[in-house]
Assembly symmetry: C2
Homo-oligomer: 145 residues x 2
């Protein structure tokens, strides 16, 4: 059962600029200072990845994987970082972070010590639309397999 938890930012709000949503989860573009930093946020207030049922787990990682793939195609980062932490907000969400050799923290994790001062790249003007169209197409294609 979906429970709305008071004072949970991911129960109260989308958590970013919506790129994709279905019955179980959503993908948002965050306003973090890293180019194309997205989050895959489970709609229901669940704490740990291992709390998901098998079908939910598979759906979650299908979307994670496609999100990563789209970010690679559009932004051509040197690496993708994925993380589910939730120490402050224990509502299942995955950070999907394109990394660039010249970003502020590379090769450190973005939570580590900054290595240099650089501006985040500007996203392509059609980033949101391109993401949404590709995600919908890939999820449809995936479901037909």
């Amino acid at each position: 059962m979906a429970t709305n938890v008071t004072q949970c930012i991911y129960c109260e709000d989308d958590g970013g600029s919506l790129l994709y949503r279905d019955a179980l989860l959503r993908v948002v573009l965050t306003d973090e200072p890293f180019t194309g930093f997205c989050r895959v946020i489970w709609n229901e207030h669940i704490t740990e990845f291992s709390d998901l049922l098998k079908e939910e787990r598979y759906h979650c990682v299908d979307v994670l994987s496609v999100t990563e793939m789209i970010l690679r195609e559009i932004l051509m980062p040197i690496k993708i970082n994925i993380a589910s932490l939730g120490n402050v907000t224990p509502h299942l969400h995955w950070h999907v972070i394109p990394r660039f050799a010249d970003d502020t923290h590379f090769p450190q994790p973005i939570w580590g010590v900054a290595q240099r001062l650089t501006q985040a790249r500007r996203l392509p003007a059609q980033f949101g639309d391109q993401f949404a169209v590709t995600m919908n197409a890939k999820m449809k294609e995936d479901n037909q397999k």
Copy 2:
């Protein structure tokens, strides 16, 4: 095809104390100063999660999920952190980190600024055996579903 990449620590070595291994991946206990910090390491030198085929992806997250579940059962952490970074070692591996309210960094990510000085907890004496037995049983159970 599995390729052995020179100077990749996860091609050259298990990467920790082996808890579980199958044809596709292994789970190791690391020597990081966080109680029960494990890694799920893909055997083949693959860089990104989205490079996996669907069946591989599902197997990977089944093992991730069971690893998390076992760590929760044995260690009762306040939270589990999962991350696939690989900026320094771009060979697919997942950090699975039990977090405790009094660990050195909580609620910060372990890559952030330390919050206090504390010793990692001592693992139960039978931790490795208990992990291996439970993992094998759960994977077998899972495959029969």
